[in-house]
């Protein structure tokens, strides 16, 4: 027998927030299928389908990689690998955060039909972007094999890196989704911020190139997020500093996610 008791009294916020998360995770049939379905739908009548992601990223990496390796006076093979790994990881992070912004509002019809747990929408968006990452990763693989350092043993460290990065992204996605549902100017603000952060994060350029201003990228959490994937791929283990920063962010954002869900999950349907 299922059921619920809802009252005006607030339950323990964090526990209630975690209840939303664990319940959402358990309905994996739902978000796994829907995340895949979203990609399938987007390219339903196209011949290349999701391989368009691979193709457009490939063209971007090839042209801009060649151009900037000349501008920055860097060895082409190395720079292309650096740029490919960075831009693909960045697309994963920023694409997910951008779409998290509308992850609740776009399912208004669904939410007004039945009792819902909200974290599942963030998981659905995450699956979408994990699939896009998988398609884009082919570009990284090709560049590394033909132009770059090849595959090193250290590259395996990118796998746990991806797991840690994913956890952090999910915990950032939920607060973003809640804020953007309540304040409808937020998606634009986040979009603009991400554009600026892209240029402030060492993706096109390298941290060592800015000399005494390197502290800017040292303290940039997005740099750490990109690094725990990019560094292992380039054959270098991520620094302890990167991990430390990410674990602290995971702790803070998990608390924020649980707290916000606990406090506001009862209000979200009213905001739609």
């Amino acid at each position: 027998m299922t059921g619920f008791l809802m009252s005006e009294k607030l339950p323990n916020l964090l526990r209630w927030g975690f209840e939303d998360i664990t319940h959402s995770v358990r309905t994996r049939d739902m978000w796994l299928y829907l995340g895949r379905q979203d990609i399938k739908m987007k390219y339903r009548r196209s011949v290349l389908g999701p391989w368009w992601y691979t193709l457009s990223t490939g063209i971007l990496v090839l042209t801009l990689g060649l151009l900037w390796s000349q501008v920055f006076n860097q060895p082409t093979g190395y720079y292309m690998s650096y740029f490919a790994a960075g831009i693909v990881t960045w697309t994963f992070i920023s694409g997910f955060i951008t779409e998290s912004a509308t992850s609740i509002t776009q399912f208004e019809g669904f939410i007004k039909q039945q009792h819902t747990h909200f974290f599942q929408f963030v998981l659905r968006i995450y699956i979408r972007h994990l699939l896009i990452l998988a398609h884009n990763f082919l570009v990284v693989a090709i560049v590394f094999l033909f132009a770059g350092p090849g595959v090193s043993f250290e590259a395996l460290a990118a796998i746990p890196g991806l797991a840690i990065l994913s956890l952090l992204m999910l915990m950032i996605g939920a607060p973003v989704a809640i804020f953007c549902t309540r304040f409808r100017d937020m998606p634009q603000i986040i979009n603009n911020l991400l554009q600026v952060i892209f240029y402030l994060t060492p993706i096109i350029w390298e941290a060592k190139q800015i000399g005494r201003f390197q502290f800017v990228s040292d303290w940039n959490p997005f740099h750490a997020m990109v690094s725990i994937i990019r560094k292992p791929l380039l054959g270098e283990l991520p620094a302890a500093w990167d991990f430390l920063m990410i674990f602290i962010l995971i702790a803070i954002s998990t608390l924020a996610t649980a707290g916000l869900l606990g406090k506001y999950r009862r209000r979200i349907a009213y905001w739609l």
């Binding site: 027998m1 299922t2 059921g3 619920f4 008791l5 809802m6 009252s7 005006e8 009294k9 309905t27 049939d29 739902m30 299928y33 829907l34 379905q37 739908m41 339903r44 019809g109 669904f110 939410i111 007004k112 039909q113 039945q114 009792h115 819902t116 309540r182 304040f183 409808r184 100017d185 937020m186 603000i189 009862r266 209000r267 349907a269 009213y270 905001w271």
Partner: protein, 246 residues
């Protein structure tokens, strides 16, 4: 025991406009020390439900009557678990089926088969459960080969058939309806009515919001009349000639 218990249940909707939903409003409030707060973030509220006390027990069929805006649909959605009470409490025991707005939740670009899965998942079924039921659903919908093509090519009657077939495929304890369903052409409508009666027969509680007192008298044994979000009248139906064919 399947039941619905509302105790002083109130639901208050905030009415937002662009100023309320933007950061600017809150920011100006902070920046000006609250002086302009009444202009910028003065929220307007609507009391959709006002201290409702309602106790629905196993076996009851309840009709909600009332004018437009009396709170019928809001009460249904509150029982469905969409809106949390802003006052009082609501306790629901039993699994819920909402036949509230069958047009919602269809993906026009996806095929009929995909939409069976989508709606099944939305109802809380697992993939395995949907796979077990999907042939029965397809057969009942009588859509045949249409199930292989995108739903956007369907007529509205065909869409409704599909949604109805999925929604009534898995029995639930509590059924919530917004008006009696009318589904497409005469032959299917008759078949759908029989299935709906069978479906409701398996459920323990029916709550239906309707404008038709005649319908309420015919299929329900209790009528709750709402007015301005309050229970105006709550009485059993005495005449007992039950007849579902509408």
């Amino acid at each position: 025991m399947v039941s619905i218990k509302a105790h002083n249940l109130s639901i208050q909707f905030p009415v937002y406009n662009a100023a309320h939903r933007s950061f600017r409003g809150n920011f100006i409030k902070v920046a000006t020390g609250g002086r302009f707060s009444s202009d910028v973030t003065n929220h307007v509220y609507i009391n959709a439900l006002d201290q409702i006390n309602l106790n629905i027990q196993n076996g009851e069929r309840v009709a909600l009557l009332g004018h437009n805006g009396s709170g019928k649909s809001t009460l249904l959605r509150a029982i469905a678990g969409v809106y949390y009470p802003t006052g009082g409490s609501l306790e629901v025991e039993g699994s819920i089926s909402t036949l509230i707005d069958l047009h919602q939740g269809m993906d026009a670009e996806a095929t009929g088969w995909d939409n069976i899965i989508l709606r099944g998942l939305a109802m809380g079924m697992s993939r395995a459960e949907i796979n077990g039921r999907k042939n029965e659903i397809a057969e009942f919908s009588e859509l045949g080969d249409f199930l292989n093509i995108p739903v956007r090519t369907y007529s509205s009657g065909m869409k409704l058939r599909l949604a109805f077939s999925v929604s009534t495929s898995s029995p639930r304890n509590i059924v919530l309806m917004d008006e009696w369903l009318s589904t497409g052409d005469a032959s299917f409508s008759e078949k759908a009515t029989l299935r709906l009666i069978d479906y409701l027969g398996k459920a323990s509680i029916l709550v239906i919001a309707t404008h038709s007192e005649k319908l309420a008298m015919r299929i329900c044994d209790r009528i709750v009349t709402l007015s301005h979000g309050k229970v105006e009248n709550d009485s059993p139906v005495i005449s007992q000639e039950k007849d579902f064919i509408i």
